[in-house]
Amino acid sequence: MPHSQAASPSIALHRVAIIRGSRVILRDFDLEVESGELIWVRGANGSGKSTLFRALSGLLQVASGEVSINGAIALCDDNLALDLDQPLEKAIRFWTDLDGIKPAKLEAALEILDLIGLADLPVRLLSAGQKRRGALARLLASDVPIWLLDEPYNGLDQANVARLDAALSRHTEKGGIALVASHIAPTVNVTRSLVIDRPKAELAA
């Protein structure tokens, strides 16, 4: 199922509440993101950054409020979804084939993240940072307009942080949207930062 590239991607949340188990994670949450914006999502551990991303991806139902999203979404979080027994390139190829993406685009993405030399190694032999770059390469190869990156810098060295930041800025210059949840600031033109603060120990009615 190839993604349809929306002309102008956007995200609009209005008075959204998210409940997980019996805990209120977010309430009366508003967010508007326009084409070309790079948002740095901040917040303490457990404040609901990942939950917000899961809700935006449609993996979690919101309890109330309006969610309107234009454009396909790609999520890159801690669950890398790369088959450990497969060589890196084949593991990513499974996904790009599903998305109908040409192998040449994947090659280019591997090149950008300096993964060409690792393409034939089984994923289980890779380090945490290398696996993370593999998942990021899948994202770079796709032509999805909205990127949700949950702690993308985890395990990356300086050079690869710079490569990812460069890719982020190219993506937003082309009109894409990126939300980056991270404890360190992206070094590129962050449009704004969004602080998530969880309502303290509130129980859902």
């Binding site: 997980r20 991806s57 449609g58 993996l59 979404i73 999520l75 890398l80 499974f94 084939d97 599903l98």
Partner: protein, 215 residues
């Protein structure tokens, strides 16, 4: 449906590379090998009950792969990524079931002639056994994926899988063993109907379970 085929093929590959192919088959054949030791080499007895023993062995062998069917994909985020790409849970479940039929069902059928020879099941019953197992294995696969999806949300609950699958598989077992008896034709029809219903419903049941496990 190119995507469906590649998701199903991924299941087959994982079944055949991770040692998942040999364990159930060796287990199945081990039952056939060990049974004569406990009953004694009574040819008439083995000819009478051998087919039924293989039905039980096939059912128990189908419990072994349950743990790896859904839980690893749930934990690795594979299911999340498929959902993000617009795959309905029912389609994901159907692809997994199709892959499991090929990855587990077909090797089991291929191993059955060996098991039949080990137990000395007579030819007339051997044909009925092969046909019956071929009809029932899609249902075993459907039940296996459904149970795997149900227990995926509960980490480390694979032991529960066996407990849940066995009672659900009883109709299959009764009609399956019935095909080896006197009213074989009736039993075969009932077996086919039960297996068809279970196989057809299981993507929906497993899909609902995948959805429930996602939070």
């Amino acid at each position: 449906m190119k995507g469906f085929a590649s998701i199903a093929w991924r299941e087959v590959r994982m079944a055949w590379t991770g040692g998942g192919l040999w364990l159930p088959i060796v287990f199945y054949l081990a039952v056939a090998t060990l049974f004569p030791f406990v009953t004694g080499p009574d040819k008439a007895l083995l000819a009478r009950v051998g087919g039924s023993i293989l039905w039980i062995a096939a059912l128990l062998a189908s419990l072994l792969p349950i743990e790896r069917l859904v839980l690893p994909d749930h934990q690795a985020g594979v299911l999340d990524q498929l959902t993000l790409r617009g795959w309905a849970d029912e389609w994901i479940a159907a692809a997994k079931i199709a892959g499991h039929i090929i990855g587990f069902g077909i090797p089991l059928i291929l191993a059955t002639p060996v098991a039949i020879a080990l137990l000395g099941v007579p030819d007339a019953k051997a044909a009925a056994l092969l046909i019956g197992l071929a009809i029932a294995l899609p249902a075993f696969a459907g039940l296996g994926v459904t149970i795997a999806a149900l227990t995926a949300g509960l980490n480390g609950a694979s032991a529960l899988g066996g407990l849940l699958l066995v009672p659900l598989a009883i109709p299959i077992l009764i009609f399956g063993a019935g095909t080896l008896g006197d009213s074989a034709n009736n039993a075969l029809q009932l077996l086919a109907a039960t297996s068809l219903a279970m196989t057809a419903l299981s993507p929906f049941a497993a899909g609902a379970a995948l959805r429930a496990a996602r939070d």
